[in-house]
């Protein structure tokens, strides 16, 4: 995959060398989870879990996002790749909207011109 070519593999290997971190990935493969959920599942302190999640985040295997007061972890692309993918999807959305807006502008333009023709007949 394209993403892998740019991913620092040694960082990913280091992240995956730990059985707890592999467990976290398996868990997140089933569903997103908060740091608190993960700490409970793996019977670990919040601080310890934050460190593990930090290593996985650095490796681009997990992303976190704050929703309200809870930081949710999920399997994820590295942030820059994720942002590029989001921007491209956003561009496609606006591009599709603007294609329809184009049609409406063309219709309105024709309306404008027919009005002009009524006022000033073309020779």
């Amino acid at each position: 995959m394209v993403q892998l070519r740019h991913a620092p593999l040694d960082v990913s290997f280091a992240a995956l060398s730990d059985p707890t971190r592999r467990g976290i990935l398996e868990r997140l493969g089933q569903a997103d989870a908060s740091i608190t959920d993960l700490a409970e599942t793996f019977q670990m302190t919040l601080t310890g879990m934050k460190k593990h999640v930090g290593v996985l985040e650095q490796a681009g295997l997990v992303t976190t996002a704050k929703v309200g007061r809870v930081r949710t972890c999920r399997l994820g692309l590295r942030r820059l790749e994720e942002e590029a993918a989001w921007i491209e999807r956003y561009r496609q959305l606006w591009d599709a909207r603007f294609d329809v807006l184009d049609e409406i502008v063309a219709e309105l333009n024709r309306g404008d011109k027919s009005k002009d023709r009524k006022e000033r007949p073309t020779p």
Binding site: A65, L77, E82, I87, L93, L101
Partner: protein, 161 residues
């Protein structure tokens, strides 16, 4: 002629969308702001969503409320806010209030030689707000499957000698 659409993150807090239209600014403004036209262009058919209702009072101090349904969603989704500044035919500024930390959106229509350059700026209250919008926007099915493919590939490469 179909003109290209560009999207760029211009700062930690801002996303900018641009497109040129083949018509004067007052026409693009009208197409953008009248509810009967908004219903046609805001939800592209390829996105599988349909308008349930569309109210837009595009005047300074006016409000809007767009309600959509999608086959995959149990409940219709509502998007709403206020028009902070409306200056026909060149500028519309509105809020996005359906979630916390929504952006302030500013669209400008700049006419030159019979064409109109549309620039839409979405300014989020903080870097975190925009980062979170991006992160939550990629929890969709296509994003998730890419992530699983990435993970699959990593696990395969780990298993090989």
């Amino acid at each position: 002629m179909r003109n290209p659409t560009t999207v760029e993150r211009t700062s930690e807090r801002e996303i900018v969308v641009t497109r040129t239209f083949n018509g004067p600014a007052h026409v693009v403004f009208e197409a953008w702001s009248r509810p009967e036209y908004i219903k046609r262009w805001w939800v592209p058919s390829s996105f599988g969503m349909t308008f349930v209702s569309c109210e837009a009072d595009v005047r300074t101090g006016g409000t809007y409320r767009f309600v959509f349904s999608h086959p995959a969603a149990e409940q219709p989704m509502a998007f709403f806010g206020r028009y902070i500044d409306v200056t026909p035919p060149s500028r519309i500024v509105w809020t996005n209030e359906e979630g916390a930390d929504g952006p302030i959106s500013t669209v400008t229509f700049e006419e030159k030689d019979g064409q109109t350059l549309l620039v839409l700026r979405e300014l989020y209250p903080s870097k975190q707000a925009l980062d979170d919008a991006i992160a939550s926007g990629s929890t969709g099915t296509s994003g998730a499957s890419e992530q699983f493919e990435l993970l699959d590939e990593l696990l395969v490469s780990l298993a090989s000698p």
